[in-house]
Amino acid sequence: MDFNDTPEEARFREEAASWLAENAPTDDAFRALSPLEQAKVWQKRKYDAGWACMGWAPEFGGRGASAIEEVIWRQEESQYDLPANFFLIGQGMIGPTLMAWASDEDKARFLPPLASGEEVWCQLFSEPAGGSDLAALRTRAERDGDDWVINGQKIWTSGAHYSDYGVIVVRTDPTVPKHKGLSYFYVDMKAPGVEIKPIKQLTGDSDFNEVYFTDVRVSDSQRLGEVGQGWQVSLTTLMNERAAIGGSFGQMDVSLAMSVAEEVEIDGRPALEDAAVRARIANWYVQEAGLKYTGYRSLTALSRGALPGPENSIGKLVGAPKMQAMSSYLMDLLGASGAIADESLAAKAGIIQRAYMGAPGLRIAGGTDEIMANIIAERVLGLPQEPRLDKGIPFNEVPTG
């Protein structure tokens, strides 16, 4: 075993690294732009040089790169302090859906500007009444000539306020069982009747929105898949979700825990000398290293041409609760001053407090801990689904809370 690239991978890494060295923006003018503007400038620069959406076919703006090449690119790109990726959902989840289900005309129209960052997309799936049970969604679309008229409400929509387009799954037939009455469209987020309201999270930030649809008209040509086939189309989007959301847990890692435990004292000695503290740190390291080397094993499989499978669900399932447990415990070590969030006064500039407040969101977004455990149990271990009381029952006859 070794951690080395194959000769081809090494050549590719070298090419990527040298392009990044010459082109990654660092100038003050760039830094003065808003985060979204920075992201768009950087994405366009990558697109023009063939480094955007590399796995996509050339006619859609990619270069037909392999999965391992995409990973190598991400590793190299992550060494630079670059703007947040505002295109993750569009490029990671919606692009593959358009490729699988859209007309050739729409693919040619929408995929290149999605790859270049000139157009941003969002995903309109979750609803107040349909989260983990997504197919229980109630937003409806009714046929009117060549158009459909959409009414209802979506929620938890990341980036709706700066998106140009969105994909939406709606109920087109409430008289059939829930999975069979859905259809899938793309919508213009600037269309009349679309209203976007930011949600203030418990962190005080607003990363998500509520999106209200009031008599929003979309053309039947904006439908992906057949009428009633919306669930299958949605699965294409969702299959790409775990890959797009990934397992980034910021700076809450064991090296931060070690550093806090070295600085904080218990009975006049560094906390790092305390057996109970050491046991906790060791357990987190077991999780952290376990995920890292699971990643290396997946990369090896990718490098040999395999596809990523449901086993990758463990990244978030382990990482998010770990982030919560670690940040909670490190605040305990800080004692009463663990409550201080003021960046100028708090230990580690408030990273720990922010992580603690953000962790509940990570345990929910993109599939709750419980749903991730179900995925492992059902798709990896082959256990049966829970019986469903709404199975085979027309949607409009299913009891609701």
Binding site: T294, N374, L383
Partner: protein, 371 residues
């Protein structure tokens, strides 16, 4: 990135699994657990014929001169079948100690016989309850004689020789002590896993030979334990995988309230937790065997990480496998308890969880200080 076993090594895994499925069914484990024997001697002969006892012993001493990758694979399969064999004592510990610390003459005398499985060797470390303290051992070597008591010593009743950790005026030593001699008494000690024999071994001016003819650094002994920790981690991973497979199979076939219990989220989540712990343990075991096989200076960290992960995964899987089986899991008749016994037994050998958590953090601190 090439973080995977080679095709030849995968082939060895299939071969080992097939062999143990045939020659070490659970009835073989049960026979030792129920009977008066401390091991399955016939199985040991077959395992030796397969060359497994010779895996990493150099060819010059009658071994196969293969790598720790091959030995890790065999260790996992040994665990998967809960083989009632002194494999960890003889192969991961005693053979390694002789190879690492022995003189040319000592290696020539013992390694070929250990490689061929003609004899079993063990290591005697613990003297009393609590954490092993290398600087406070009471077993003493003076001249060519050794005195003291070691308890418990795994597999001593079937071993021809023990590597006995002792002190002399010069310091810490590992002594080769043949067990069939007048100055040695080996008394059985009942443990909760009678599929592996344990003894109290008393040395009363027994003839002893110092390995390498000189003292050993405590760090070198700990490094030997690092290697054993990696191999034990693989063996425990095998136990954990069997426990998960049993729990999964039972959850599919056992019905309650009109449906398979595996359809209840309480059971699914339990099994998903087992899978997660097993996956983390497997990936950390890869890290461990990589460090061991490549002679990396990350071995102390990798070994401790692999060991802690494997202790946690194997005891959790064994405990929750029984829980998944309900009352039947608590019976002698069902096999679930084999894995509980062995997982916990191996968790207590060579330092338990807290010892290795402590070593893990020490290794992390050393690595960050060096960086």
């Amino acid at each position: 990135m090439n973080f995977e076993f080679s095709d030849e090594q995968q082939l060895l895994r299939e071969q080992a699994r097939g062999f143990l499925t045939e020659h070490c069914p659970t009835s073989a484990v049960r026979a030792v657990l129920d009977g008066d024997q401390d091991w399955d001697a016939a199985l040991w002969q077959k395992v030796a014929e397969m060359g497994w006892t010779a895996t990493v012993i150099p060819e010059a001493y009658g071994g196969l001169g293969l790598s720790y990758y091959e030995l890790a694979i065999i260790a996992e399969e040994m665990g998967r079948s809960a083989a009632p064999l002194p494999f960890s004592s003889s192969v991961y510990l005693a053979s390694e100690a002789i190879q690492r610390f022995g003189t040319e003459a000592q290696k020539s005398a013992w390694l070929p016989r250990l490689a061929g499985g003609e004899c079993v060797a063990t290591v005697a470390m613990a003297e009393r309850a609590g954490r092993l303290a290398l600087d406070r051992l009471e077993t003493r070597r003076s001249g060519s004689q050794i005195s003291g008591t070691k308890v418990p010593v795994a597999d001593a009743s079937i071993a021809e020789v023990a590597v006995v950790l002792a002190r002399s005026e010069a310091g810490l030593e590992a002594c080769l002590v043949p067990l069939q001699q007048a100055g040695v008494s080996v008394e059985p000690v009942l443990t909760f896993d009678t599929s592996r024999g344990h003894s109290a071994v008393t040395f009363d001016s027994a003839e002893a030979e110092v390995l390498g003819g000189t003292t050993i650094n405590p760090e070198d002994w700990e490094s030997l334990l690092d290697g054993a920790a990696v191999l034990l981690a693989w063996e425990q991973l095998g136990l954990a995988e069997t426990a998960l497979t049993q729990a999964r199979d039972y959850a599919l076939q056992r019905f309650a309230f009109g449906r398979a219990i595996g359809s209840y989220q309480a059971i699914k989540h339990k099994l998903a937790n087992m899978y997660v712990k097993n996956t983390l343990a497997r990936s950390n075991a890869y890290y461990g065997v990589w460090a061991l096989a490549e002679g990396s200076d990350e071995l102390p960290l990798a070994a401790a990480t692999a060991r802690v992960a494997a202790i946690q995964a194997s005891t959790y899987a064994a405990e929750e496998n029984i829980q998944t089986h309900g009352g039947m899991g608590f019976t002698w008749e069902f096999d679930c308890h084999f894995y509980l016994r062995r997982a916990k037994l191996l968790s207590l050998a060579i330092g338990s969880e807290a010892v290795w958590q402590d070593r893990l953090v020490s290794a992390l601190a050393a690595q960050s200080a060096a960086a």
